[in-house]
Symmetry: C2
């Protein structure tokens, strides 16, 4: 079970709750706390929201997962993977990865960063997804 390894690599204990969180997040791609809880209680009747929140934070602390704040919607979470940007559909709420590499933007152009030393770039493009365009 690879999720177990993933947790150990980040020096977190591999509890069943955590493995379930990672599995669901991995399958969903992006998920809110709310959605995560709704899904996880089906397999794990006794899990509490407090546990979810605590684990989300532990995993963020070790950069195993990442929060994605999107305009007008609830924060979603994703497994950390290679850098990418996001497109969000303002009609149906779908959030999707796109392959734009945020930090390559910084390298290729000389933006005036006002003296800041950049660590991370978050890009969220809002628009209408192909499906909603049809309606």
């Amino acid at each position: 079970m690879k999720y177990q390894e993933l947790l150990k690599q980040h020096r977190l204990k591999a509890t069943p709750q955590r493995m379930a969180i990672i599995e669901l997040m991995y399958n969903a791609g992006h998920i809110t706390i709310e959605e995560l809880y709704q899904s996880i209680v089906k397999k794990f009747a006794s899990i509490s929201l407090a546990t979810l929140y605590k684990n989300i934070h532990s995993m963020m602390d070790v950069s195993l997962i990442r929060e994605v704040k999107v305009p007008g919607y609830k924060t979603k979470y994703e497994i950390e993977k290679s850098e990418h940007a996001h497109v969000m559909c303002t009609s149906c709420g779908e959030l999707k990865d796109i392959s734009l590499n945020p930090s390559s933007l910084l390298e290729n152009r000389q933006f005036d960063l006002a003296g800041y030393k950049a660590d991370d770039v978050a890009i969220v493009i809002s628009g209408i997804c192909p499906n909603c365009q049809k309606k």
Copy 2:
């Protein structure tokens, strides 16, 4: 008083509370609800948080102000102005505009937007500001 005009242009009634909100937001550049409230009560002892929230939403509905969601911090608000990106200091929390034009990025390069029709691009660069680098 130009704030009055600004409100009328957006078909909102120019109440003193709203003018105070805009003035403070304008001076601060970026401000959280919290900070806005702390400042505004000094001049407007009787204002309520409910009024703040209601007005923030009215003004967002007519695109007079805009919310800026930043990783790890509270949402901030700013007066809508020409497109720009943001740098945020992860040490002191300062948020600053930079002149990078988000939608020009879309034009200059052909990103694969997975069929999305883009309306808006939000870019937040996290890093360390010049001041905090010294410490």
